[in-house]
């Protein structure tokens, strides 16, 4: 967890049509799939949409393995949901529910597989712009996101260190000894970060 490797987890570099299409368009695609899952009532239509999305996914060059990787964590859940609803409401309805969830998952992974993380984050900051008139500050928002991303590996490292030292004291079964120092270190780290920002004149609201 040390380092920023996890930030690259989903992105696959490439030059396909989807890689080149603007973020807003891909976002609308995900949104449309989310809405469709409430509107589509025929499992065959869901299956067709899913097939199209899987085709698009493979066209980006991300490969079958990544497609399976996106779906895999949900397989046991979908199996339970599908069997249960198939038994309660009939096989077509069960299949439709499962397929609709899959449509949303594949659409969302299409977005993350073809968009670099930095572009996604820029998109999030862009979303804050319309709220500027209500006092939102996109610059400070972006700064906070940056600090958060920098903190994740630091905190994961702290957790590993604290676990080691708790084990050395024979306290590795005491949850308070395992968790409290992580939070103390993290709050101290947050305040140091705040002081560092203040020293550079960053992060202050403009008057």
């Amino acid at each position: 967890m040390r380092g920023h490797g996890f930030l690259l987890a989903n992105y696959v570099p490439g030059t396909s049509l989807l890689h080149r299409s603007p973020l807003a368009l891909k976002f609308l695609l995900v949104l449309a799939c989310g809405l469709a899952s409430f509107i589509i009532v025929d499992w065959r239509l869901s299956a067709a949409v899913l097939a199209v999305l899987c085709g698009l996914f493979l066209l980006t060059g991300a490969g079958v393995k990544r497609l399976w990787g996106a779906v895999r964590p949900l397989v046991p859940v979908l199996l339970v949901v599908g069997l249960f609803q198939g038994w309660q409401l009939g096989a077509p309805t069960g299949a439709r529910i499962v397929l609709n969830i899959l449509v949303c998952i594949v659409a969302a992974s299409l977005l993350t597989a073809t968009t670099p993380v930095q572009q996604l984050l820029d998109g999030v900051v862009q979303l804050a712009r319309p709220f500027e008139r209500f006092g939102a500050d996109p610059e400070r928002f972006a700064l906070t996101i940056g600090i958060m991303l920098r903190s994740i590996p630091y905190i994961a490292g702290t957790f590993a260190d604290v676990r080691d030292s708790a084990r050395a004291r024979g306290l590795d079964r005491n949850p308070r000894a395992l968790v409290l120092p992580v939070f103390i270190t993290s709050v101290a780290y947050a305040r140091q970060t705040g002081e560092a920002l203040a020293a550079r004149g960053l992060g202050e609201a403009e008057d």
Binding site: G34, Q85, I101, V124, G146, A156, F183, I184, S186
Partner: protein, 214 residues
């Protein structure tokens, strides 16, 4: 008349919203803490496969330590970035696809829960000095029952088209773990407020003093 009223509330709001660098640091670091807690592997115990993680512990603690506005901002930032595609939800999941799955209700409930428990924490700090851990625990438990479980059940029912009764039963698995996590969150929150009184305790006292004068 109504004009002056709106301008007064507006200026008050901007004053409250003006966070300094330390506030931004706290918001960012607590958002990262929630993300870190989600990366610790969870147990998928209930039938619909919503995993049990340390996340709810981190969410409650964020509210108890930072108070309503900053707690909401921290957990909201976490949720927003997870939905935007960072793999920071439990089991390394991410993206808007989550909103179609059975965890959706819980994810949406997290920022709201942090805000509500933060609001309750401010009341606890204002009113009590002794047995704060107990009150924090009660605040966290009330919030998890009213906000997290209610929205979680609705999410399961809506997305997997189960009946409310079935969703309610599958949600019950979370209660024992929740009690333990809320005890921990309350104990840690008290310890953190003792170590860093400037994070929330002094802020609340200052606020109480100024409103008392006015």
């Amino acid at each position: 008349m109504s004009n002056t009223e709106t301008t007064a509330t507006k200026s008050q709001r901007t004053e409250r919203r003006r966070w300094n660098g330390t506030d931004l640091g706290l918001i960012a670091v607590f958002a990262a803490l929630v993300a870190g807690a989600a990366l610790v592997p969870g147990l998928a115990l209930n039938g619909f496969g919503v995993p049990i993680t340390f996340q709810t512990l981190a969410v409650m603690l964020t509210g108890l330590v930072l108070g309503p506005a900053r707690g909401l901002a921290a957990v909201g930032l976490y949720t927003l970035l997870g939905l935007a595609g960072l793999p920071i939800f439990s089991q390394g999941r991410s993206g808007l696809g989550i909103l179609a799955g059975p965890s959706a209700g819980y994810i949406i409930a997290f920022p709201i829960a942090a805000g509500v428990v933060g609001w309750l924490a401010v009341i606890v700090i204002k009113r009590t000095t002794k047995a704060r851990a107990l009150w924090f625990f009660l605040a966290a438990t009330a919030t998890s029952v009213v906000v997290v479980h209610t929205l979680g059940i609705l999410g399961i029912a809506l997305n997997s088209k189960a009946t409310l009764e079935q969703a309610f039963l599958s949600d019950l698995v979370f209660y024992p773990g929740d009690i333990i996590k809320n005890v921990l969150a309350a104990a840690i929150a008290v310890a953190l407020h003792r170590a860093f009184p400037d994070v929330l305790v002094r802020r609340v006292r200052r606020q109480a003093a100024t409103t008392g004068k006015a």
